[in-house]
């Protein structure tokens, strides 16, 4: 502002000053970056020329901690990676260590794990749907989603005492057996929850303005999605019929009958923001189906019998992946035979999904960046770890 007009014109003439691009910093404190992500937007007017994400504002050194802790002590830290889907994170890590040690789990443990993981998936998708709505400007659906999510948290709380970070799935078992009346609670929840999916559809998902804002925005073609390693609703939103629960089965998912939801381009192009969003909505119904089937054959039993007294996996390494609500959560664990892992690398789905943002947001407007970011559904705890 202090520059005179002549000096500015001189700068322009000499090519020292670009006159057509503006750099806008979005974040780390911004209402719609879902945490502490910082996006550097290079703008031409309202149109986006380039998006440069800057990560690491929540780098909490998960991998360093994993090397310093014993195997069971790592589990609370996995909770805090993707804090919206702590159960699924526990599940992946426990599975990796169990496979490394060759532990066979009791039936009941497997069932509880699947039910908990699916409940957590619903809870996580509810947050994703709500915050996406908020990014588009609809505040009320966000609160409705949070209200429904509370019922799931109540079930978790009754079982293990925690609302958000559970430390529930241990290597070889669970921290607690489910509470009395668990089955009834879950059934009640499913019964109450199914109509609210329709409510959210009516209020938000099929709202004309919402569709206008999200359809044909941030289209992610299949080849780009695969090359960038996108997974979960991101990949399925682009029309790829791939779900680890079915295609790389773990736990007991192969016993249940359910559908893999893929984006169909109903409102616009296949792979746009609306498709990614709707995949989440449809997945909630599928999760309900899985839970209902699991409850029908819910076996009795002891959940602690397979928990080893001493957790020291033999020397070796393993890469295990599970389907997190956000996509493929992988753990690469190297064991040197001691009580501490030698190396744990977590492959967070959000980390990988976010890397595609520059590719799919060029040429869109600022408002679309918010929509695209919301549809990717990132959790910074997992990106920065």
């Amino acid at each position: 502002m202090s520059q005179t007009l002549e000096a500015l014109q001189e700068d322009i003439a000499a090519g020292r000053l670009k006159t057509d691009e503006l750099v806008l910093n979005m974040g780390p404190q911004h209402p719609s970056t879902h945490g502490v992500l910082r996006l550097e937007l290079v703008l031409d007017g309202e149109a986006v020329v380039k998006v440069i994400p800057h990560l690491g504002y929540l780098h909490r050194c998960f991998e360093k901690h994993a090397e310093a802790m014993t195997y069971p002590q790592v589990i609370p830290y996995t909770d805090r990676m993707d804090y919206l889907a702590a159960m699924n994170n526990n599940h992946g890590y426990a599975l990796a260590i169990e496979r490394l040690m060759g532990i066979e789990l009791p039936e009941r443990v497997e069932y509880i794990r699947v039910i908990m993981a699916e409940l957590q998936r619903i809870a996580s998708h509810l947050v994703a749907i709500g915050t996406f709505g908020m990014d588009i400007g609809a505040f009320t659906p966000f609160l409705y989603c949070f209200r429904d999510r509370e019922y799931i948290l109540d079930i978790f709380e009754r079982t293990c005492g925690a609302r958000l970070l559970y430390n529930y799935m241990w290597v070889g078992g669970l921290s607690h057996d489910v509470h009395d009346g668990f089955e009834k609670d879950v059934r009640d929840f499913i019964k109450r929850f199914r109509p609210t999916i329709k409510e959210v559809n009516d209020l938000l998902n099929y709202n004309k303005i919402f569709i206008e804002r999200t359809a044909n925005i941030g289209v992610l073609p299949v080849d780009v999605a695969v090359s960038y390693g996108c997974s979960g609703p991101m990949l399925r939103g682009s029309g790829v019929d791939f779900d680890l629960r079915r295609d790389d089965p773990y736990s007991i998912y192969d016993r249940f009958d359910w559908q893999v939801c893929v984006g169909k381009g109903e409102a616009g192009t296949v792979g746009d923001c609306w498709d990614r969003h709707m995949v989440r909505v449809w997945e909630m119904e599928q999760s309900c189906n899985i839970i209902e089937q699991a409850l029908e054959t819910f076996p009795p039993g002891d959940i602690t019998e397979a928990i080893p007294k001493r957790i020291r996996p033999p020397k070796g390494e393993i890469y295990t992946r599970v389907e997190n609500p956000r996509g493929e959560l992988g753990y690469y664990v190297i064991s040197d035979g001691s009580a501490n892992p030698f190396r744990v690398k977590a492959r967070g789905p959000s980390f990988v999904n976010l890397s595609v943002i520059d590719e799919i947001s060029r040429g869109h407007l600022i408002a679309d960046i918010v929509a695209i970011l919301g549809s990717i559904d990132i959790v910074l705890g997992e990106i920065d770890r």
């Binding site: 960038y228 690469y332 920065d384």
Partner: protein
């Protein structure tokens, strides 16, 4: 195809390279200056089609070597392969596969940031998690936590 078959397939295609098969893990060990070439082959070969890089991890093996581990998966054939690259800690240069699998971009930046592997040919090799002016590579086994960063005390 299992790892052994893939190894045989690759060994026939690259007779000049010193590819090794580690039966324990199992994985294929590729020289650091050939990983790009091998990667392209892995991705595009009709029989392999390992088009998705699930995970790329840097590892400090604590015996004077650093490593990069590639976990690959084929969406079409639904088979997996683990590829390893081992480099000495004094000269940790590995070819980048950023243009083979786009997802390797950030993963390589992370491995550079935390382990200190330098990826030759990477277009944008900056730190990703730690601040740009951070010193050292925290996931090295001999890493020592600094006392201060920008005037803020780091240890408790």
């Amino acid at each position: 195809m299992n790892t052994k078959d893939m190894f045989d397939h690759l060994a026939a295609l690259f007779p000049d390279l010193e590819l090794q098969l580690d039966e324990d893990v199992p994985c294929i060990i590729v020289p650091p200056d050939a990983i790009r070439e091998v990667g392209l082959q892995l991705r595009d070969d009709e029989q392999l089609l390992l088009d998705s890089l699930m995970c790329l991890s840097g590892v400090d093996f604590a015996d004077g070597t650093l490593g990069v581990v590639y976990h690959l998966h084929s969406m079409l054939h639904n088979h997996k392969l683990t590829v390893k690259v081992v480099v000495p800690v004094e000269n940790p240069h590995v070819q980048t596969v950023e243009r083979v699998w786009r997802t390797a971009d950030w993963h390589e930046r992370e491995a550079y940031d935390l382990i200190g592997v330098i990826f030759d040919g990477h277009r944008d090799l900056r730190r990703i998690l730690n601040p740009y002016d951070w010193e050292g590579h925290p996931l090295r086994k001999d890493y020592e936590v600094p006392e201060f960063y920008n005037g803020m005390k780091v240890p408790y």
